[in-house]
Symmetry: C2
Subunit: 147 residues, 2 copies
């Protein structure tokens, strides 16, 4: 039974460590799948978020895809070079830049998404449907309570 860790308990009993370890492992697996398309996990996230077709500001997007602002700016620079996305200045508020996905980006997004879905199906197979759903529920709740 897991208890709140004491000073001398092993690091593997810390929630922060378990989260890091699980994230690292699952992320590595996803990365392997996405490498078929030659893009990092973050670009999948970006394309997926933008695929609703609405313009998203850089700030919104940075929050949504879990990247710091300058990191996102530079990654978007690369994606613009690859003609996956494009910038439009927001006419309502010209401090903002709205990001949109191009047709090429949409097509890539579909392929990436199918790889990501297949990964999750693979996890569900070995880990179980019930556990997966329960874990997701708990993570959502943790995230909610952490803000």
């Amino acid at each position: 039974m897991a208890k709140p860790p004491k000073e001398n308990s092993p690091i593997t009993e810390h929630l922060a460590y378990l989260l890091a370890q699980a994230n690292r492992e699952i992320n590595r697996q996803l990365e392997m799948r996405l490498s078929k398309e030659g893009v990092p996990v973050e670009q999948w996230r970006i394309l997926k978020v933008l695929s609703d077709g609405n313009g998203h500001s850089m700030g919104e997007l940075a929050d949504a895809v879990l990247l710091n602002h300058p990191t996102l700016t530079k990654m978007i620079d690369r994606m613009v070079s690859d003609t996956l996305v494009y910038r439009v200045q927001d006419p309502k508020d010209r401090r903002k830049v709205l990001m949109y996905v191009s047709d090429r980006g949409k097509a890539l997004s579909r392929r990436l998404n199918s790889l990501a879905v297949s990964q999750e199906e693979h996890i569900v197979e070995s880990y179980g449907d019930k556990s997966t759903n329960e874990l997701k529920r708990l993570l959502e709740s943790l995230i909610g309570s952490a803000n």
Copy 2:
């Protein structure tokens, strides 16, 4: 009820995303606490693992603290400069380098550990004892099934 995500479901329903988000948030909180001592989370992990007093090879350590080998080597370089840890060539197998924690490192490790424990207590307070334990159990099991 969480289902295996479909092609068009939002990214927030992907396990990989929820893990990344939760990890980012908890890690950020921990980082804030540890900043009192001016060390990154990874150094807490390193010191904690080494605090059993046994020598750990770089390979072992890299796995345990979730860092790639070259990254660990360079971080250990810094910690050696700070006289927190030291290297000893393994006499049984001279390809290996065994890492040990210094007295200064031990003292720092105790202070860091107390900060980390207090963070987890804080999480338990707002998130609940039951949820925390259940989440840990599920994460352990996910990690186990992912290997």
